[in-house]
Symmetry: D3
Subunit: 288 residues, 6 copies
């Protein structure tokens, strides 16, 4: 008898209760003000993931040894931001409650807010490490407070001063940069200062949010708002290594918009970042 058809990230097939990391997609881009399209990221990444090796020659580790469960994509309501964020928060809470690590694939960066709200409930002393080209610190955008352009301001409302650590930032309004001086730990352009930040955080719980546009558009043009002057792929891998040694309780990868890179190269790069991230943050009980 023919079995049902499953397509999962990297063809992973670990059952939910044996998994220590749980993937899910959050296809939502309703508040994107420039060029939408990140809603297609998780679907396209999953489909293309069969083209990537599961073994990392960087880490000498293999996803085949990694207990990861792909719980598929949420069905989110375009045009109703509050509802979409509530769905994301609920999924994240379920995963956290089951003692597993949630890894969300966005979507626009606003999806991070849903996940952070769930994480901070369980971990009130949460730090957030944020890689991005953009500040995302506006109080509101055309009057709306829930927006891709305000998400880190809303995250800061969850964590308070000094617990939001931003790296790679190279675009924003002057007022945002000024506001950041008082409230966040903002590092311009690259990962300078990351080692110090990570050391200072120690064993506090960390939510790790990667906006892939932190990468230079040369290697990652497939995003709504490409910003020249970003970090290289190898710099990002090294930074992920640094962060993943902390006590990660949740993470996400955002802002791939596959349609803007018809070479498929941005998707392939996002997948490789995902592989390295999964290999770095997933707890195993006996990796070589």
């Amino acid at each position: 008898m023919l079995k049902e058809f499953h397509e999962t990230f990297f063809a992973l097939n670990c059952p939910y209760d044996e998994a220590s990391t749980v993937l899910f997609g959050a296809p939502f881009d309703s508040t994107t003000s420039f060029r939408p399209g990140t809603r297609f990221a998780s679907r396209v990444m999953r489909a293309e993931s069969f083209g990537l090796e599961t073994y990392s020659p960087y880490l000498d580790l293999d996803l085949a040894d990694c207990p990861v469960f792909d719980s598929g994509d949420l069905e989110l309501c375009f045009g109703n931001t509050a509802l979409a964020l509530a769905d994301i928060e609920a999924r994240t809470e379920t995963i956290l409650r089951d003692g597993k690590l949630p890894l969300m694939i966005g979507g626009e960066h606003l999806v991070t807010l849903g996940a952070v709200r769930a994480a901070v409930k369980q971990h009130p002393s949460l730090h957030v490490i944020h890689f991005d080209a953009h500040t995302d610190l506006r109080e509101d955008y055309l009057g709306e407070t829930l927006s891709h352009a305000t998400v880190m301001r809303r995250v800061w409302e969850c964590t308070g001063d000094g617990r939001l650590h931003q790296f790679g930032i190279r675009s924003g309004a002057r007022a945002e940069f000024l506001w950041a001086q008082a409230h966040t730990n903002l590092h311009k352009f690259n990962f300078d200062g990351l080692a110090e930040a990570v050391a200072q955080i120690g064993q506090a719980p960390v939510y790790f949010s990667i906006d892939l546009d932190v990468l230079d558009p040369s290697v990652f043009p497939g995003t709504g708002t490409p910003e020249a002057g970003g970090v290289t792929f190898l710099e990002l891998l090294e930074a992920i290594q640094l962060v993943s040694k902390r006590n990660i309780v949740g993470c996400d990868l955002n802002e791939l918009a596959p349609i803007y890179d018809q070479s498929g190269s941005s998707t392939a790069t996002a997948l490789k970042v995902l592989r390295e991230l999964l290999l770095s943050v997933t707890k195993t009980s006996g990796r070589m």
Copy 2:
């Protein structure tokens, strides 16, 4: 001294107070559930409009003789549907109050609701003529009542039974087609029955909404949800001629998503529909 730079549709330069028709763009697609991109329609159409002749060999009329004012694009808030609709309603009201005909360029089809709300306030006995591939008659979409998939249900709430006339419809849920039998004047696949509907409406005020996906995807692939089996360009021109003989008090053209047709042909076709529509509905005081 160098003058300021103006780019308008077809390089039209009639002043506002001499105009009888007023164009505006409504770049909004936050509730689009499948493929977004209609937010770019008005901008791209305006830019490409210089490649189209202002003279119509079909009508033997010229836009140069047409008192049309281009009032530019609204700046709408992505992610806040109610706010966006209110802005559209306000712009439409202003134009109606000044005794002019509003012609809106969407955007997703939901933008029609803002304009109809303004029109029905001034014209309580309003009829709506609706060309579309889709029913757009759902009560809600994933719980949200303001959506591209529900817009004609909301319009019906403004007009009541028997005043919403739908043509070209070839896609929808079974329940929508059933509901339409009791409440709207729905015609499947093409413009059969249009002459009768138009005769019956007589001189009642009419809002005229054209979802360009009523066209066959062969001539109009540049839209979020292309539906094979649509009408031809010449059938659409003829239908516009029929409708425009009525008492039109407002109209719109929706659902061009330029990014999905990189040949530019869909944009060129949308512009030609716009030209013919402008020539047909604009009041002049002495055209040849």
Copy 3:
């Protein structure tokens, strides 16, 4: 506990043993001599299928009432044609043996050979109805007998003279057209003669193979070898209706190459053809 993630055509979820039709993808295009890319058809169609309504206003039928099982895509070996055909034959045999109707999504047209080989074993008196722009009747192609350009010659070897009925043919070598006069029932350009052919076949078992390039490139540019002068979408629907009244024992839909139509319109059209085909050939036990 989170459940496993399933993506199926049109989100169909009928279990295998209750299904009367079984879908599968045959992603193979190794012998394509001009432009490859049909290997991506089933994957892209499945992903895009959620954008299409399950209800057909043409037939007033709904896929929700149709017992169809999606058994996913075969993993075929690029570069080893014989092996790939054997895998297709095996899958088809399993479905036929379980008393169900196989519906295969290609791939290049050669995949039909695998399915016909299975069908003719069970139904030695098999007829084949073939919609296509191309004859596909060469004896060999650069010395190779298993090729997209020879597939109908190989099919003829299974059925013998007078049982292969070809429609819409508008491209081929002169020698193929001459050969067809003696051996197949070839109709040029359109569906003229289809009603007669169908009447003549009567209740004999029929394998129904649709090469989507029978459609005009205006509505279906997304294929390796577009041939101007094809049939319209509505003509194809009508022809499918005619054929599906026969005793269909297997069918397929081939030659969508999504990459060549970046508007997505060809994929949407292929899906609508698939919906109408499924609604027409699937046996139900009590449809309205």
Copy 4:
């Protein structure tokens, strides 16, 4: 010893002195005012021509029996219109002087002027049959008299009143349509009147110029200025048949801009038009 590599249209290999028709490309688009790109037409058509059968099921004729020589592409100077036209005129003159039929692949439509200048020198009583979406009858364009937008006005200067027969025209300035009433034989929208025109021309020498944008953009989006409402592929074939029965002394095919149709379908259609044209106008000494 390895031979030199030749790529010709349809792999034609008839020597020059045995040929009765001579092909050449005129890759020039310097005066295109909207979207350039026709310079790539001949190169792309030649490369793609190996994907098209040489046999026509419409005419039951084969290019393999047709004495056609491909003389390659001219190297024309972008930015120097007069020089480019002179090169085209010279090539056409050579071919005419050798008693052969020149068939030029443009390029923008202005290239026709070079060929007509050569033809009218040899055939002072020349008629021109012109298929096009556009009038091309301006006196000048931004002050320049040699332009794609003025080419038929310049051609008229070669032939005089009543010898320029225009078909399919659906775009132009009002003044051009008015001017045409006095000077050319202009037919709007389609081929109505072609049979009469052809009968009237009798055995006078005819230059036959096909701007491929006479086709509807649904089947031919790959052109700089697509104009909805054009003729179908089969209507064009039929019209070519009508014209080719006259005394054709030169012909051209223009305005394919491959980059605007990434499906390749426009190029394939242009090639099929070219095949049918070659089969219709080439003199053979004993075709079946």
Copy 5:
């Protein structure tokens, strides 16, 4: 009453007489011999500029504080090079005569010649600093002396030996490199030697011409002739900083061809270079 619609670069709205820098577009690419398309650069850049922040975290300066006027695009005659250059020269002269700094957006690189001709009239001792991948030093191109491939030779005719400083050059004919040794200050591959050149120029008037293809194609593929081995975005910013400390009397940014980079990333990068250039060269009367 509704106001007229203005779309300007970065939504700048400084009046002409208060501006110290004046932008204009020069959409011209008639002499481009390989791949045209730079004619669309200024239009697309203006449209996309609303997606870029006006604040520079590199310079800690904001365009909102910069007195810049956007005077729109010239309407240039394709196919008549001399006329187009005269129009550019006239516009540049007007701006210079009014004591303002002209900043031109090309177009192909030939447009620089029009601007330099105006500048050298007012500043006979003019130096030209030229960033480019190409030498652009041919005497003629297929017999034509006004060409993108000859522009710097023509510029040299305006300035004389030793006043043309070229950087980043990595493509050209051997003869051009040899000629440059005697007449220009040519630096291969990168900006080595720029500091020395700038020091040597001192306070002499400088025209600053940036061909954006000096950037590596990885970050700037959207150009007609991409040349691997170019400079990085940050190297270019640094070099602009160096040059802008001189007495700049005119500048331009050339050779973006948006159509060749459908990710939009090249346009975004060009805009960021423009922002940094504007912030660096615009005179303000009291910047922080």
Copy 6:
């Protein structure tokens, strides 16, 4: 009389018997398991090669001085791998037997096997230097031993242990990396160790195979399986210089798939690599 039309790489026109290097294309990608398209590489490269200067400012050498013959593209049978490899082997043997250097343009990487088989027959002590992102060392792929994924394993069967030198490798199965430790000289990520390898090889005959995906996808996205983290263009040039000082008896350039980079930048980069390679490996008898 008009001459036949020739299009060759860089318009090279050296006759075969005067040539020391012979180019040919091997358009084959039947076994590509992810994204096909390399079959178009040689055709597109040849067509685009006229946009590239023949002079190298890196080497101060010019292709005009290089005795290179372009023998065109093989016509290979898609779907019959063994036959295709035999054709490649035969062409390579002919060139080698005539004492010339074969330079093959793929195609997928499997084409290398045909050329190596010919080379090792003439040079039994052959070394192979292999630049690639991928190991290509599988024993079989889905049961097939002739595949792009197994090609270097098959090459190793020709050369034996210690004669296959791999550089830039950053993707493969763990088992392949382990196998390589015992059998090949594999260097991960970049060209570290190349100087040593080259020194060790000394004057032994070398076949040099460049899979262009060794380049970073930022500069070379146009390939089937882009792998982030690759080498830069300048690093590749330098490595080519190192290798070409050895006794090169054959070489190839593979895996450009032009369709995946619509900017044309990958093709331009491939051509520049080809130019530098030709200038480096071609024997001349008296270059300046």
